[in-house]
Amino acid sequence: MANPQDNKSAQGGFIYLPLIAGWLVPGAGHFLLRKWGRGALLSVSILAMFSIGIAMQGKLYAGAHDILDMLGLAGDLGNGLLYAVSRAAGLGADQITVTTGDYGTRFIVVAGLLNIIAAVDAHNLRTGRKS
């Protein structure tokens, strides 16, 4: 079982910083906690998944017109700054016109959901719930 006293990084500072940093930038929460290896693997995996989704002409959800759009938008928002920068840069397709675009859309949504899992993991490390 994890002991909060054993984890030096679980002491001092704003307790939600790794959670917020991890959400905004994939892997940043783990980097703040000096978990370099884990952070690098999470960062590469999530960035690659998001980039491949964009390269496959996946759709970035811009609004919620029905329940499915709402769920897709929630997943996309999990990508944090990646989503904001990509929207600002006009990346991603507005309409899915190729078969791979559908796969790409799922890649982008799942990258966001995985990023949220990674950010919550960083928070658990920060609070000492996980060793």
């Binding site: 994890a2 999530i46 496959m56 890649f107 799942v110 899992i117 990674a118 996980k130």
Partner: protein, 59 residues
């Protein structure tokens, strides 16, 4: 623009998701690798099994 085959997309999806699952769901590096590999095999195995099932249903 990227146009991977369906199976390549499955492999990429399984790889990245398994890495994140392994790191976040287990505590020690050894258990992370084992769980990541387990998730990867389940992802790819399930995709192959369901593909065959759909193929047989469609015949």
């Amino acid at each position: 623009m990227l146009h991977p085959s369906h199976f390549t997309a499955v492999l990429l999806f399984a790889l990245f998701a398994s890495v994140v699952f392994g790191i976040t769901q287990r505590d020690t590096p050894r258990r992370m690798i084992r769980y990541g590999a387990y998730c990867f095999v389940l992802f790819v195995g399930a995709a192959i099994a369901l593909s065959w099932l759909m193929f047989l249903i469609a015949r």
